[in-house]
């Protein structure tokens, strides 16, 4: 009954007219800024953060949480509409969402994303409420060896992200991993691959890489045929998903929610993997894996749900341990401290109204997001009817602002140009950017945890198999590897001469 009372307290807090209002404003602002191309959730929150400082602590955090969901959803919208992801999670949504949009199903893709997110948000809110405290214990069992093994699972699964040549996907992952290592080596302080540019000492900016290889490459691709034909964008057919679509997304949404919830709990950045993992799973269980990469409904529904569930449950380490799991959560901590609340293991006991208020507001925020965005879908889709040649200067301007605003680092802008070129080159060479991006995200985590695990085990590599969780994860990696490779090997035998497509 404790739970009931706590939730009641939470809803009382979050449900006050004032807090509902701030939640709404947060969701609205988050969506509107997040939907601007090239401005992802981190940039949006960093931009909107100061607005919340003037409010009461609870209202301020509720608004901030609203901004977070809004920004996430806004980011997915741009990913679907113009292939411009602002976060690693929406990069996965972009794969099939953008293809759906090109086939005239932008409305359906957006609606599926919204519905999937809402469902995942609802479930994971309750998970947070019920399991927040016991789950943290498990999360703390994750040391360097476990994270390394988890990243290996992610890496192995990444191969499934590709819908072309597996060897090219592997090459892209390797390249991505290497690009992810750019910057100062945390163990020795040695700068790596920075070409002597100090501004890259903390690594390449994710937004710069994502916007470059996805968004700008896509703009360039659209420009190349300008003289001869219109940009391929089929006529928009219906704003809402069909009954068939809805039936098709039930299972992916459930699986995505489960995957996202589990990975989001890990404070060491498990949520990064959520959408990638969900995509892989969906592709593997699907009866029509060939549809993936060409506008598969499940390829939008699964990752979006996983993403939102992960976003939600990544509040768990913050609320129960006082540890931010990602840059966005770090911003939340900053906001809390400025409000005079230092997050720590006792927040739930010391500030029950705040703790449960935030949890309740998560659900309210998600509800508002759906109510707000379903009608907006028509408007977003209308944006696609703007002639492309008017759209892309706008895209370029916003993505310049967005990338610059994160760290006021002009070299990030040069990186955008470089990765735009690289992305276009890869596109022309029929290499896919998604595995590259996953590699980029995983690279530093993989190496960091590998080396840390080795330091902690005094150079004994058996640590990866003697620690049970780590061993279990590695076992999963092997299974995934077999599952991924078997069909392709079989296929190879059958069609010796056709490697690709």
């Amino acid at each position: 009954m404790d739970l009931f009372n706590n939730l009641l307290l939470g809803f009382q807090t979050a449900g006050s007219i004032e807090n509902l209002f701030f939640c709404l404003i947060g969701v609205l602002l988050g969506t509107l800024i997040g939907v601007l191309p090239g401005i992802g959730a981190t940039a949006t929150i960093a931009m909107l953060l100061p607005i919340t400082f003037q409010l009461e602590p609870v209202s301020s955090l509720i608004m901030l949480a609203g901004i977070y969901y809004g920004a996430q959803y806004g980011g997915s919208t741009t990913a679907i509409l113009i292939n411009m992801p602002g976060e690693s999670s929406s990069a996965v949504t972009a794969i099939d969402g953008y293809q759906m949009a090109r086939k005239g199903k932008a409305g359906a893709a957006l609606a599926i994303a919204a519905i999937g997110s809402f469902f995942a948000g609802t479930v994971s809110t309750f998970l947070v409420a019920i399991f927040a405290l016991p789950l943290t214990g498990i999360a703390l069992q994750f040391g360097a060896a476990e994270y390394f093994s988890l990243m290996v699972v992610g890496l192995v699964s990444s191969i499934a992200l590709a819908h072309g040549s597996i060897i090219k996907a592997l090459a892209m992952v390797a390249l991505g991993l290497l690009l992810g290592l750019v910057g100062t080596d945390i163990y020795t302080g040695a700068p790596r691959f920075t070409l002597g540019i100090r501004e890259y000492a903390d690594g390449l900016n994710f937004v710069a890489v994502a916007v470059g290889v996805f968004g700008i490459a896509e703009i360039l691709r659209n420009l190349e045929n300008e003289r001869t034909r219109e940009v391929l964008m089929a006529k928009v057919s219906g704003l809402m998903p069909s009954r068939e679509d809805l039936r098709a997304i039930v299972a992916p949404v459930l699986r995505g929610t489960a995957i996202g919830s589990v990975l989001g709990i890990l404070p060491g950045g498990g949520a990064i993997l959520a959408s990638f993992a969900s995509y892989t799973v969906e592709k593997k269980v699907s009866k029509h894996p060939e549809e993936f990469g060409h506008g598969a409904v499940a390829g939008v529904a699964g990752p979006e749900s996983a993403n939102n569930a992960g976003a939600q449950t990544s509040f768990i380490p913050l609320l129960t341990l006082g540890i931010p799991a990602n840059p966005v959560m770090a911003l939340m901590v900053g906001a809390m401290i400025i409000q005079g609340i230092v997050p720590g293991p006792n927040v739930a006991a010391e500030q029950p109204a705040l703790f449960w208020g935030i949890i309740a507001s998560m659900w309210i925020g998600n509800l508002m997001l759906v109510i707000l965005n379903l009608p907006l879908i028509g408007l977003w889709v209308k944006l696609l009817t703007i002639p492309y040649y008017l759209l892309f200067p706008i895209i370029m301007a916003f993505c310049s602002i967005g990338v610059y605003s994160v760290n006021s680092n002009v070299y990030d802008l040069y990186a955008v140009a470089f990765f735009g070129l690289l992305g276009y080159l890869l596109l022309k060479l029929r290499c896919e950017p998604a595995p590259l991006l996953l590699g980029f995200v995983l690279g530093p985590l993989l190496e960091e945890n590998l080396r840390r695990a080795m330091i902690l085990s005094r150079g004994d590599p058996s640590t990866f198999v003697t620690r049970p969780i780590s061993a279990g994860l590695l076992f999963i990696a092997v299974v995934v590897l077999i599952v991924v490779f078997l069909p392709s090997v079989r296929k190879k035998r059958e069609e010796v001469f056709v490697e690709e497509d």
Partner: protein, 442 residues
């Protein structure tokens, strides 16, 4: 006689334009005051001052810093004076206020002519204007007249950012202008510091940096700026104490026990830190240097993951700011052994200081200071310093700082001289420790 061209620099009220006015004067004119406007004072300016421009033939168009006049005007409403004033040793706006008409008695030009020439000069001197930008003259009395940017060389949401935002908010109230925090993270804070070092020395770009200012002078062998010669000083903000903490199930019960344990298991005991140059890295080095035993260092990317692993018992020891450890200690999730401040902390009455526990050389704090670029007028630094002192007395700040286990620097430390002395002594202190560890970040 008309024989020399004497440019005048004037500064505008809001937009801070620099106008180069070509004026023609008799050669014997050495110094003359031109009343610029009768409408130029900003309402509410206290004490009111007379808007003058000083013409200085010996300088090629740029009024030197030491003699620049106070100028605020909304309309370029010029009255000029021809007569030389050889004997008038006017050097400050206040003195000039006494009798401008007597000093420059005759020879007023027409307003229209003046305005025309002014505009011609502005149009013609665009190229030169770029050069003279470097020396935009701002008078401390009028400062600040627009938004000030406070560069924090770390990511938003971190402890330094928090300190900056709290202080900035309070200082804004006193200065009457908004101080916005700009996070320029990267390379252990040296990117942000480099940005400020290269900024205009007009008081509108300030830097809030912590102890890293002193340690990066040694940690980074190739800095883009010269730490001791690239900045002016405003004052110390706060000195955040560090705490020596360990995993919850650590066997030792006091600092001495911990040191003994560490010495006995030197090859096994792990010390976590949040990356090279981080407070926890510095304190970790200091700890090993103090107990004269090298331990296994485990770096992380940021305090978050390091603390997670400490909570999970994956690593043994960490030494970090109270900002990061207070709540965990109170929650009993980690074990605290000592604070590095000279006195015990209000929030942890039972926690001994390192001095009491026998490691006096570990007395250390993560001090934060505010800097301005080299060449920023002393009046501005004083003004900022005064504002900082006021902010540090703000009960809101005191309360927030206390929650984080720190307190504001005393008024005597929130001064340019104190910060300068601190920076110099800390560079000297850390140099041998960092060099002994032999790890650089460049």
């Amino acid at each position: 006689m008309i024989s020399s061209l004497i440019p005048v620099l004037v500064t505008g009220i809001q937009s801070r334009e620099v106008l180069r006015v070509k004026r023609v004067f008799a050669p014997q004119t050495r110094r003359c005051w031109i009343p610029v406007t009768s409408t130029g004072m900003r309402r509410g300016d206290n004490p009111p001052y007379h808007p003058w421009v000083e013409i200085h033939p010996s300088h090629s168009g740029i009024v030197p810093k030491s003699t620049h006049g106070a100028l605020r005007f909304e309309y370029y409403h010029l009255w000029s004076v021809l007569e030389p004033i050889a004997s008038a040793s006017v050097s400050s706006a206040n003195e000039a206020k006494q009798a401008p008409e007597e000093m420059c008695a005759s020879g007023f030009w027409s307003l229209e002519e003046e305005i025309m020439k002014l505009f011609n000069a502005v149009l013609g001197a665009t190229a030169l204007a770029a050069v003279s930008l470097a020396s935009v003259q701002v008078y401390a009395q009028g400062y600040p007249e627009r938004q000030i940017t406070m560069v924090v060389p770390f990511a938003a949401g971190g402890p330094t950012d928090t300190v900056a935002r709290l202080v900035a908010e309070s200082m804004s109230k006193d200065l009457g202008q908004q101080i916005v925090v700009e996070n320029v993270g990267g390379a252990g804070g040296s990117l942000g510091a480099g940005r400020v070092a290269a900024a205009e020395a007009d008081g509108y770009t300030v830097l809030l940096h912590h102890i890293g200012m002193a340690t990066s002078a040694t940690l980074y062998r190739k800095l883009a700026y010269d730490t001791l010669n690239a900045f002016e000083y405003v004052g110390l903000v706060t000195d955040v104490p560090m705490t020596i903490v360990a995993r919850k199930d650590m066997e030792a019960n006091d600092l001495k026990g911990l040191v003994d344990y560490a010495k006995a298991n030197a090859d096994k005991v792990t010390v976590a830190n949040a990356g090279i140059g981080a407070a926890s890295h510095l304190c970790g080095m200091l700890f090993m240097s103090a107990i004269q035993t090298p331990l296994v260092t485990v770096p992380y990317k940021g305090t978050g993951p390091a603390m997670t692993d400490l909570l999970g018992g994956q690593v043994d020891i960490m030494c970090d700011q109270t900002t990061n450890t207070t709540k965990q200690i109170q929650g009993g999730t980690i074990k605290a052994y000592a604070v590095t401040s000279p006195e015990r902390l209000e929030i942890f009455k039972d926690l001994p200081t390192v001095k009491e526990a026998g490691l006096e050389s570990m007395t250390v704090g993560i001090w934060h200071g505010i800097y301005t670029p080299k060449g920023t007028p002393a009046e501005i630094n004083e003004r900022l310093s005064k504002s900082l002192q006021g902010a540090l007395k703000d009960p809101n700040i005191t309360a927030r700082f206390a929650e984080l286990g720190t307190k504001p620097s005393p008024e005597t430390d929130a001064t340019p001289a104190a910060l300068k002395a601190k920076l110099e002594s800390e560079i000297t202190r850390w140099k041998p420790i960092i060099e002994a560890a032999g790890q650089y970040a460049d």
